[in-house]
């Protein structure tokens, strides 16, 4: 039981509070009127930011200038979005019928024409591109998929025994795709065939997020257990557990050099309030910096050169912050 989760949530940070809040506000983007941001993502190079908003449109802005570059309308209920690693593609999933039918459109970010459309699948709520931009993965509550973009067709359907998948990540070489599954397993599949390579059950509660190390040798997994597990990608064995996390691990990003990770937290009673972010030193197993603000939701982010750029939503404002 968590009789007072807010207090429990903050306790581990009281000592570190003085060093917190080192993030710098870079830019604020205002959306029209009563439109609020529901989900956002930043491209890996940090040049573009895109958001799904409450009016069911997808807007894309320049990070540098804040200029609105495109508004994609006509979606019924957009449920996820992601840029390819080279920023040339933007994938947007749309839920046409709850749990039953969805579509994924892949837009060219120069012409904004639809390059690929994958329809007649179950809806997906998480999207990921492989580093070579060859494969796109979508995680859903029923089935998850891997699409081969050059071939323009589905490469694999990944179906855990029950519950679906919370998130997915490709290995750096694109050979494997890992899933954080609702049945508490972390599974690794062959990207091209969908063959199961390994299944790890290290959590009692659901894993929410999974990320490969830059060398592809290990996976980091976080979730409701308030743990971050390090798993050997080849064997599926748990090799390390990071110190107890201060909240439910909503998402994690590993830096390109593999030395740091950004972890976004939430709490049990208000699990949609992702308002706490920490920069971890993975070698030392210690928090180096934090960002926490009430009334916001931290959205997607990316490591850009020497800092982490991330988007924060609050009402009809989308604010970009950087953490050195």
């Amino acid at each position: 039981m968590r009789p007072n989760p807010a207090v429990l949530f903050l306790l581990p940070f009281l000592a570190a509070a003085a060093s917190a809040q080192t993030a710098r506000q870079e830019k604020t983007i205002n959306l029209p009127g009563e439109v609020s941001v529901e989900m956002a993502t930043i491209s890996h190079a940090g040049n573009l930011v895109a958001a799904i908003s409450s009016d069911h449109s997808v807007r894309v802005w320049s990070v540098r200038s804040g200029e609105l570059l495109r508004t994609i309308e006509g979606g019924k209920a957009p449920s996820a979005l992601q840029f390819s690693n080279d920023e040339r593609l933007l994938a947007v999933s749309d839920q046409l019928e709850t749990y039953r039918k969805g579509t994924v459109k892949v837009f060219d970010t120069d012409t904004w024409k639809v390059q690929h459309e994958f329809a007649d699948e179950a809806p997906v709520y998480w999207l990921a591109f492989s580093a070579d931009n060859r494969h796109l993965a979508g995680a859903g509550f029923i089935d998850s998929y891997v699409w081969d973009l050059p071939a323009g067709k589905k490469a694999a359907t990944l179906s855990p025994p029950f519950g679906g998948t919370n998130s997915m990540a490709f290995s750096p070489d694109g050979a494997w795709v890992a899933t954080a599954d609702c049945d508490t397993f972390v599974r690794v599949y062959d990207t091209s065939t969908g063959a199961l390579h390994s299944a790890t059950q290290g959590n009692l509660l659901e894993p929410w997020t999974v990320a490969f190390s830059p060398d592809g040798k290990s996976l980091m997994v976080g979730g409701i257990d308030k743990t971050i597990l390090v798993i050997e990608a080849a064997s599926g064995k748990i090799s390390r557990t990071l110190p107890k996390q201060p909240g439910l691990v909503w998402s994690l990003d590993v830096s390109p050099d593999g030395k740091h990770a950004i972890v976004v937290y939430t709490s049990a009673g208000r699990f949609l309030d992702t308002n706490h972010l920490a920069l971890w030193d993975l070698d030392k197993g210690a928090i180096l910096a934090e960002f926490q603000k009430p009334g916001i939701t931290i959205q997607g982010g990316t490591f850009v050169r020497d800092h982490y750029l991330f988007a924060v939503a609050s009402g009809n404002q989308l604010t970009l912050w950087s953490l050195p």
């Binding site: 039981m1 968590r2 989760p5 019928e97 709850t98 749990y99 039953r100 509550f141 029923i142 025994p161 029950f162 519950g163 679906g164 919370n166 609702c182 049945d183 508490t184 059950q201 009692l204 509660l205 659901e206 929410w208 409701i224 049990a268 009673g269 208000r270 699990f271 949609l272 309030d273």
Partner: protein
Amino acid sequence: MLTRRDVLQKCLTLGSAVIASHVSPEVMLAAFQDREKQIRKPTPVNTLGPFYKRLAPVNDVMRAPGDSGVPLNIAGQVFDTRGDIVTDATIEIWQTNHQGYYDLDGYHYRGKRQVDKSGGYTFESVIPGHYPDKSRICQHVHYLVQAPGHKTLVTQLYFATDPVFEGDSVKNYVRDPLIQTPELIRPVMLTGDPNEVHAKVRFELCLERL
């Protein structure tokens, strides 16, 4: 379009179906018609997460003595889509306490059990609360139902008394973005005196055969 009833009647008329029984075709047809009335739609699916926890204890009395909240009895039966009782199903349920919090450290309000010989089950619990985050998610109980030879069912039970529905769950179920059909919203029978209200809900489950 021909119904199965039409087809059977034609088969009997044409002799394509032979009844190896002393009862008349009329009696057999009546029995078939009775049986056909029991054909069921699979229970609609819903999300599993995000707070599923494995290794839940075998336990159908989840309410501990002294627990706050409105005591709740959930009961039902498990069928397949042909209307047959499923006697070997395992039902696992989990929910928040009356304040809307899941037990993440332990297994309070998490339990599982086998159905009985009639496919029946009961759980003793409390009416779950709304999530404290003021999201539009209604009060609910998560279900994971597994039986050999059947597709695993992941669904949720909702309560017609939920204030979000304002007394009209058929019209207002769409207020919760996760509810795709009012079929999962069950009527609540309140019993007892005003100082000690108990709630009862029936939730029949229908599994698809593999």
